[in-house]
Amino acid sequence: EQCTNETWNKIAQRGTIVVGVKADTRPWGYRDQTGGIIGMEADMARQVADTLGVALELVAVESSNRMQFLEGGRIDLMIATMSDRKDRREIVGIVGPNYYSSGTNVMTPKALGVTAWSDLKNRPVCGKQGAFYNQIVEQRYGAQIIAFGSNAEALQALRDKKCIAWVYDDSSIAADLASGHYDEFEMPLVSEDNNPWGLAVPIAERDCVFGRFMSGMQYSWHQSGELVALEQKWGIQATAYLAEQHARFADWLAD
């Protein structure tokens, strides 16, 4: 395959990079009251733009449309809490090293005393439409998934006791639990499928300039500890993954 570097050139030509981030996933990407998008992934996008020396345009994407946005050229780059999966790699250009990782976990009421994944069997579990965690608990543990359009609605359903758990990624749940609005809930299970998150460029760019560049960005983020810092900035529980990666990519010459 010949590299055309189409997207890369387009970014340069335009002088703007368009990055798709979430606007409905606090604290990775969400709205401030003026409508702007802020959050950890928004910050990452900003650094990419700064490194390229171009302007940044953030586009809010959703789980259900983020890959199409990238495929269709609506965005140049996607940093949108997406788990790195094999079938997804066939559609979008996910480049390593992964910038984050999370596992599947559930938020359940303390009162229920859930201790094992198997407790979910044949019980209603709320999920988010388009999230792949649904598939896991449904197929692996036989839970009945009720999927809503947004986290807010799913969490509301959990509070209304319409389901016994909310299945999502562990870091997001941890963030919610830390917010103080979910004191009567807990995350009692061991995360499953610790799954790295992938940012993605258009698939044609994966092994070309843009893909390689993004690989490098992620590498240097890990190396400099930038991601750990961002995690802290946005009040996310420190993940073992980021610490590990930071250690792993540490500059051997640094003191």
Binding site: P109, A111, Q129, F148, D160, K161, K162
Partner: protein, 267 residues
């Protein structure tokens, strides 16, 4: 396999056909990755589609029935002598006609859902008496019902005063006039508009997916989230199924309309 089937005396075409059918789509998915009709060869996905179809049909039928009942009762209440009652019906109609059904669904489910009694099978879970399917039926029925009230009311208005007078002049009571003359005529007049509204209702049932009713669209979205390659096929399926459902509905209503047609009346 064919030997086995034959020995059992079962018709071989059935399973063979099915095998060939799923094999064809499995192959198709391999040759054309964008056309992964996963629900035609993978039992779990097929089950989802089948459940979705059932929910869609149940939802449509239930809403159809309730919305018509709401329409008839509402039209009758609108003829009431009590101003308050009429105003209440009016308020209801305006409320439901002038807000998006999509938001209505969410609001019904989350807002009113908190106020309905619940029972608890396990001490924590509070299963509302009205499930999300129930709320979808209620919400959509009231939505379509608001239109039906108006439809029946204008049907009643279309009955000429003179015909009503004739029946009064024959000494019929109000109730007799209503049930034997006004309603049968009004109903016929209302049929085309009713037909339209009910078609609309069937189309609107897709919006129930906002509150996680596992109807066809919900299942289709689930499938294409799990299998991005099944996106086109799932949409194609949606399209075909809904056109089919609406088609059946229209055919049925047209038949009924013809059945009710009075020679030399209307047209």
């Amino acid at each position: 396999m064919p030997h086995l089937s034959r020995r059992r005396g079962a018709p071989i075409s059935g399973p063979l056909m099915l095998d060939a059918f799923s094999e064809f789509f499995r192959q198709l998915a391999e040759d054309y990755p964008r056309w992964n009709f996963v629900f035609f060869y993978q039992p779990v996905q097929a089950g989802k589609i089948w459940t979705g179809l059932q929910y869609t049909v149940i939802l449509s039928l239930a809403c159809l029935v309730f919305s018509v009942i709401i329409g008839v009762v509402g039209a009758w209440l609108q003829g009431s002598k009590r101003r308050l009652l009429r105003n209440l019906v009016q308020g209801y109609i305006q409320l439901f006609r002038n807000t998006p059904p999509f938001v209505q669904l969410l609001f019904f489910y989350f807002a009113l859902g908190q106020l309905t009694p619940t029972y608890s099978p396990d001490g924590w879970l509070e299963v509302p008496i009205i499930s999300n399917v129930g709320w979808a039926i209620i919400s959509l029925s009231f939505f379509a019902g608001a239109f039906n009230v108006e439809i029946f009311r204008s049907g009643i208005e279309a009955v000429p005063d003179a015909t009503i007078e004739a029946s009064e002049a024959l000494g019929m009571t109000r109730l007799q006039t209503y049930s034997h003359v006004i309603l049968p005529l009004a109903f016929r007049v209302s049929l085309p508009a009713l037909n339209n509204n009910l078609v609309n209702l069937i189309k609107t049932t897709t919006q129930a997916f906002a509150i996680a009713v596992p109807e066809l669209l919900y299942q289709a979205v689930t499938i294409w989230n799990d299998y991005p390659s099944a996106q086109y096929p799932a949409m194609l399926l949606l399209f075909v199924v809904y056109i089919g459902l609406v088609g059946i509905m229209v055919l049925g209503m047209n038949r009924w309309e013809r059945h009710l047609a009075i020679p030399g009346y209307g047209n």
